[in-house]
Amino acid sequence: MDVLVIGGGAAGLAAAIEAKNMGVKVLLLERDRSTGGVLNQCIHNGFGLHVFKKELTGPEFMEYLWEELGDLDEVIRSNYTVLKIDHINREVFTLSEEGIIVFEPKALIMATGARERSLNSLRIPGARVTGVYTAGVAQKMVNIYNRLPGKRVLIIGSGDIGLIMARRLKIEGMDVVGVVEIMPEPGGLIRNVVQCLEDFNIPLWLSHTVFEIHGNERLEGVTIGKVDENLNMIPGTEKYIKVDTLVASVGLIPQNELIENFVDVDQVNRGPVIDDFMRTSVEWIFAAGNNVAIHDLVDFVYEEGKIAGKFAALYALGEKLPEVKYEFKRGKNVGVMLPQRFTGTQPFKMYLRPRKSMSKSEVIFSGKTIRKFGWKIRPSEMIDLKITNFEQLPKEVIVEVNEIG
């Protein structure tokens, strides 16, 4: 086998499609019963505007990818868990119903996606009661298994999945009390604040969080309250809310347990350092999607998967790929950023998140303005920049985002 893909979400499927189109032998390993990843349960629309030039729901986007891949049985192995990667001997150890199988691919693509942050990580006082779910788990219950988590729900965290679940649970007949967000701004896209909360008269409490969880076995209620600018609870603002369900949408964590011990890791992205070919610091291992950094749009994840698929295939065919020549370094106001390295041999897309909201701004590469934004940019909305001109760039490019008057 030439190219092995780990993970069958949007990035992995796109990588497999592209590698297969390049004419190499490709295999995709999926931990779940079928591929599609989170697309399977994201029945709302808004997917595919860049890639397919139309607005699709998650399952539609997923089925488009299946059709693009063609014979699924030829490429996909479901119910496979990857136990370990030996990056020196280039071996991938897997566990499935067939037992332990060791693959020796010429190139590997990591498309392991992200995991939800759990409410426990917030250290809220109270017992660990039944009735507390992450947004993704609630989404799977409702959209795949046809089960409602309860009757009356508060959402904690205004990330996109939280906002979408507020609407979804309301449509399915739950009493959705509101959404609390600890930050002064919503965590998800404004589009979702409008169509998920405002349209359904669901309140959004900014600078608010859950102070305490009540109940012994089953959730009985929560105390919410206001926080100050340092995110400390303000005494006297407490309010008791009776709910039997608490849904947490408090962030996603890239999943890199399999490679984080031997690849260069970007501590801000919480994913592998990659270049414009989606290569990690280990030359036969590529990566794409939410395991590299958390994205907003599946379209971007798909595009990264395609790039990884193409160059992993070329690498597997024995082609000598160009070496990294330039490096991006974070300057002022730059949060999530990828790629961190590039070869300067092809135009590529760079993604970044500003550290704070700015109404007018410019992106600067080592003192030179390369893009101006006349509209508001926010940490919750990833910016994509087309980079086509490298001639005058130094080997180490300092990236900054500045507010302009």
């Binding site: 629309n45 729901t57 089925e63 896209l189 349209d199 508001k376």
Partner: protein
């Protein structure tokens, strides 16, 4: 009078400013990065509409639910009525993505379309 709104035609979410005269007629729309912003703002002032995404119960399928959507935006003020109607529906597997379950749902001009293929249970 100026009315501010966020365009929800795509995930970019342009912040639009709509200038209205005293009769509520649109004079100018600003802040959009593509023509869909103008279309959205116009609709939002005259007759706000949304695409509804929802699930429909499936009998004898490998899944209990099929995801579905209206193939056109439907009036926002009729969403609850349409949701109640869809909740009473049951469809029989197998179904294919793109199958129309209800034509011209409650006279809105939009069809209810399945967005997921659900095979028949063996």
């Amino acid at each position: 009078m100026d009315k501010k709104m966020t365009c929800i035609s795509c995930p970019i979410g342009c912040e639009l400013t709509v200038q209205l005269d005293e009769n509520g007629k649109i004079l100018k729309i600003e802040g959009n990065r593509c023509p869909r912003g103008v279309e959205y703002a116009t609709h939002e002032i005259i007759d706000p509409k949304r695409v509804l995404t929802i699930s429909v119960k499936v009998e004898n399928g490998v899944m209990e639910l099929a995801s579905a959507k209206t193939d056109k935006p439907v009036p926002k003020n009729r969403l609850n009525e349409i949701i109640d109607f869809i909740k009473k529906l049951k469809i029989e597997a197998p179904i294919k993505r793109g199958d129309v379950i209800v034509e011209d749902i409650l006279g809105t001009g939009a069809n209810l379309v399945v967005t997921r293929t659900v095979k028949k249970r063996n």
